[in-house]
Amino acid sequence: MNDAAANHQLVQFHNVSYSLPNLTTPIISDLNLSVARGETLVLLGESGCGKTTTLKLVNRLLVPTGGEVVVEGKSTTAWDPIELRRRIGYVIQEGGLFPHFTIGRNVGLVPSLLGWDQARIAARVEELLSLVGLEPRTYADRYPRELSGGQRQRAGVARALAANPPLMLLDEPFGALDPLTRASLQREFGDLSRRLGKTVILVTHDVREALLLGSRIGLMHRGQLLLLETPDRFLSSDNPQARAYLDTLPLTANVGEKA
C-alpha cells in the first residue's frame, strides 16, 4: 500500500483476529476493512458479534492476536498507547462520564491531560458545551447524576471532541435513551460530525441509526464482517442477515429516501 493511500485511509484492519486463550471460537476472525478520512462507518450487529471488540482494537484497549490495526499509517502496537488514545475521541453508552467530576471537568479532561493552561481549557469547555447544546453557565458545574440521560450523552460527545481528535469512536452512544431524545441526538450528531469533518466509527444494533448516520455500513456476525456497503446498497442487499435487519423496519422506504 502506498503512502498516499495510507494517508487517505485513517484506519485499516489487515487480517485482524482476536481471541481469548480460554475460548475456542475467536471473537474476531480475519477482519479486513478501511475507514477513509471524513467518513462515518457504522458497524451493525447483534450483541456478541464482535463489533465493540473491533472498536477497542482501534484505540488499543485491546491488541489483536493476529494481523494488525493501522491508525494514521502506523500499527497500533507501534503507537505509544497514551498518545494514540489522546488522538481518538471515545464515547460510550451514557457517556461514561466520571461521576466525581463536574461536567466542565469531564469535558476538559483530555485537554488537561495534554497540559493545556486553565484559561484555554475553560474556553474550550464553554465552546464545546455550547456546541452540543448544553448551556455552559447552567451545566459546567453540575455533576453527571444531576443531568438527564440525553444531557449526559451530549456531555460525553463534548468530552470526546475536546482535544479536536481526527477520529471518533462511538459504542452504542444513543442506546440507553428514549426514542424521541435518541432521534434528535442522532440527527444533531450527524450534522455535527459532518460539519467538523470528523472520521467516525460507530457501533450499534439499531439498523435505523446505521442507515441514518453511516456513509458505509458494516454488518457483523459471529466475529466476521458479512457485508460492507453504502446505506442504499445495504437497503437493496439480498444478504439474509441484512434482510432480517431490514424486515424490522416499518418505515424502510422513508429511511431509505432520507439516506
Partner: protein, 509 residues
C-alpha cells in the same frame, strides 16, 4: 466517693490519659493508612498476592492483643515496653480493614468508568489518582473508620505494656475494685470510640455523596474536631518531654509493686535525681525491660526470681534462695539484688472467713477434703509458674471441682461474691481483712520464700550514686504489717499511691 466527685478530683489525670490514648490511636492509624492503602492498591494490580497478604492480615486480627504484646516484647527495635510496642500491635490490627476496603473500593469502581479513563488516554498513575482513588475513597474511609474504632478499644490493653492511655484506669480499677476508675476509663474509651466513629462518618459521607450544600457544615465540624484532637495530642507530646539523665523505675501490675516502686522513686527525687515511672507492667515484662535497659530497677520477690526467671525447682530456705538469686543475677544479667526490704509476700491461700469458721479450717490440709466440692480461681501468673498451681495441688493432693484462670485482682471479688471458693492471693494484700477473707496456713511449707527486694542494673548503680544510699536505707525497713497497711490505704481506702508513700516517708523521718 461519687463518680462526679471522682471526676472533679482526677480530671487533669484523666485528660492526660485521654491525650495519650488519642495520640496512640492517631499515630497508629496514620501509620496503618500509610502502609495499608498502598498495599491495597498493589494487591489490586497483583491479584496473585491478594490471598496470602489478606490471609496474614486476617491472622493478625485473630491474635488476642495481650498475646501479641507478649510476642513483641522480646523483639529488638519494634519490641520492648512502652508506646512503641503498643503502636506496632495497633498498626497490625488496623491493617486488615484498611487493606481490604482499599481493594473493595478500587475493585468496586465501575468497569465502564475505568475503561473510559483508559480510553481518554490516562496513564496508569492518572487512572489511579484521578479516577480509582477518588471513587474508592468512601469505602476506604469506611475501612479507616472501622480500624480506628477497633484501635480505640485495643489501646486500652496497651496499658499492660506501659504505653499509658485509658487502660491505666481500667486495669487500676479492676485491681483496686474501684468502680469510679473503671467507669472513668471505660466510659471515656467508649466516648472516644463514638467520637472517632461519627467524625470519620462525616468524612465518609463527604466522599460518598457529593451534595455541595451539606459539605460546608460537615467540613467545618470535621476541621474543628481534628484541631481539638491535634491540640490534645500536641499537649501530651509537650508534657512528655523530660530530661534525659534519669532513673527509670518500673513496677509490676499490682498495688504492692507500685507502692515499692513509688518509695524508691520518691526517695530518689528527694535526692535530686530525675525519675521516670514505668509502672503496672504485666507478666515477665519488668524483667525483660530491666535486662534490655529500658528499666533501671523494679521491685521483685526472691522466690519469683528463683523459680520464674531462673527456672530452679522451688526450695524453702530463704537464705539459700537469696544468695543464689544474687549470684546468678550478677553473673547472667549484670543486675544487683538489694538487701531484703524486711517482709515476705508469699502466696496466701484464701477462703471466705465465714467458710473457715463454719468448717473450722486453719490450714491448707484442713481444706483438702472439701476441695472436690469447690471451685478455685487463680491468676494467670499462679497457673503458669513452676511453684504455682501444678506443684501446689500435687503437694496437698488437691482436686477441685473446677479451676478458673482469671485476672488476679478479680479473684478476690470472685471469692467474696461466691463465684469461687478458694483463691491464691498475696499475703500482704490489703483486702484480706477488708473482705473478711481467711488465709489458710501453709502447713506443709510448700511455698518458697518470697522476700521483697529491688533488682537494679549495675550500670545504673555506677551512674547514680544516690541510688546505693537509698537501697541501704530501705534494707529491713518495711514489715509485713507495714506493707498490708500501705496496700490497704490504696486498695481499701482508694487513695493515690503517691500520696500514701509521701505520707509514709514523711512519718519515718
Amino acid at each position: 466517693m461519687s463518680f462526679w466527685h471522682f471526676l472533679q478530683l482526677n480530671w487533669s489525670e484523666l485528660l492526660v490519659l485521654i491525650g495519650q490514648h488519642i495520640k496512640l490511636v492517631l499515630v497508629a492509624i496514620v501509620i496503618a493508612v500509610a502502609i495499608g492503602v498502598p498495599t491495597g492498591i498493589l494487591l489490586t494490580r497483583y491479584r496473585a498476592l491478594r490471598g496470602p497478604v489478606l490471609g496474614i492480615a486476617n491472622i493478625m486480627q485473630t491474635i488476642p492483643s495481650l498475646a501479641l504484646f507478649g510476642f513483641l516484647i522480646p523483639l529488638p527495635f519494634i519490641g520492648g515496653i512502652g508506646a512503641r510496642t503498643a503502636l506496632v500491635a495497633l498498626v497490625l490490627y488496623s491493617l486488615l480493614p484498611i487493606i481490604r476496603n482499599t481493594i473493595t473500593g478500587i475493585m468496586g469502581v465501575e468497569p465502564s468508568v475505568r475503561e473510559a479513563a483508559v480510553a481518554m488516554g490516562m496513564t496508569d498513575g492518572q487512572v489511579l489518582r484521578q479516577v480509582e482513588l477518588p471513587l474508592a475513597m468512601g469505602v476506604i474511609v469506611t475501612g479507616v473508620r472501622v480500624a480506628t474504632v477497633i484501635a480505640v478499644g485495643v489501646t486500652t490493653i496497651a496499658a499492660a505494656v506501659g504505653a499509658g492511655g485509658l487502660g491505666v484506669y481500667i486495669f487500676r480499677g479492676l485491681r483496686q475494685n474501684d468502680n469510679n476508675l473503671l467507669l472513668a476509663g471505660a466510659l471515656s474509651a467508649a466516648l472516644l470510640a463514638l467520637a472517632a466513629d461519627s467524625l470519620l462518618g462525616l468524612v465518609e459521607r463527604r466522599f460518598t455523596q457529593r451534595k455541595p450544600a451539606a459539605k460546608a457544615v460537615g467540613r467545618r465540624l470535621a476541621i474543628a474536631l481534628v484541631l481539638i484532637l491535634a491540640l490534645i495530642g500536641g499537649l501530651t507530646i509537650w508534657r512528655s518531654t523530660k530530661p534525659t539523665n534519669r532513673v527509670t523505675v518500673g513496677s509490676k501490675d499490682f498495688t504492692e509493686s507500685i507502692l515499692l516502686a513509688e518509695i524508691v522513686a520518691q526517695m530518689l527525687e528527694a535526692r535530686g535525681v530525675a525519675v521516670e515511672r514505668r509502672f503496672e507492667l504485666g507478666g515477665n515484662l519488668p524483667h525483660d525491660a530491666l535486662t534490655s535497659g529500658t528499666l533501671d530497677l523494679y521491685p521483685e520477690y526472691t522466690g519469683t526470681a528463683y523459680t520464674a526467671i531462673l527456672h530452679h525447682k522451688p526450695i524453702t530456705d530463704p537464705r539459700a534462695v537469696y544468695a543464689e538469686v544474687k549470684q546468678e543475677y550478677g553473673d547472667q544479667f549484670h543486675v544487683e539484688v538489694s538487701p531484703s526490704l524486711g517482709f515476705e509476700n508469699t502466696f496466701a491461700i484464701l477462703v471466705r472467713g465465714a467458710d473457715a469458721r463454719q468448717l473450722n479450717l486453719k490450714t491448707i490440709s484442713d481444706a483438702a477434703p472439701h476441695a472436690s466440692k469447690w471451685r478455685a480461681g487463680f491468676g494467670q501468673d499462679f497457673m503458669s509458674r513452676e511453684d504455682g498451681y501444678p506443684g501446689f495441688s500435687k503437694a496437698y493432693g488437691l482436686k477441685f471441682a473446677e479451676v478458673r484462670e482469671m485476672d488476679l485482682s478479680l479473684t478476690y471479688i470472685a471469692l467474696s461474691s461466691q463465684q469461687v471458693d478458694l483463691i491464691a492471693g498475696n499475703s500482704t494484700e490489703g483486702r484480706i481483712a477488708m473482705m473478711d477473707l481467711f488465709q489458710l496456713a501453709d502447713d506443709r511449707h510448700y511455698f518458697p520464700p518470697y522476700e521483697a527486694v529491688y533488682l537494679v542494673r549495675q550500670d545504673t548503680l555506677a551512674r547514680v550514686p544516690a541510688l546505693r544510699e537509698v537501697l541501704d536505707k530501705l534494707a529491713n525497713s518495711i514489715s509485713t504489717n507495714d506493707m498490708r497497711r500501705l496496700n490497704y490505704e490504696v486498695d481499701g481506702n482508694r487513695r493515690d499511691p503517691k500520696e500514701v508513700i509521701k505520707e509514709w516517708i514523711g512519718g519515718r523521718k
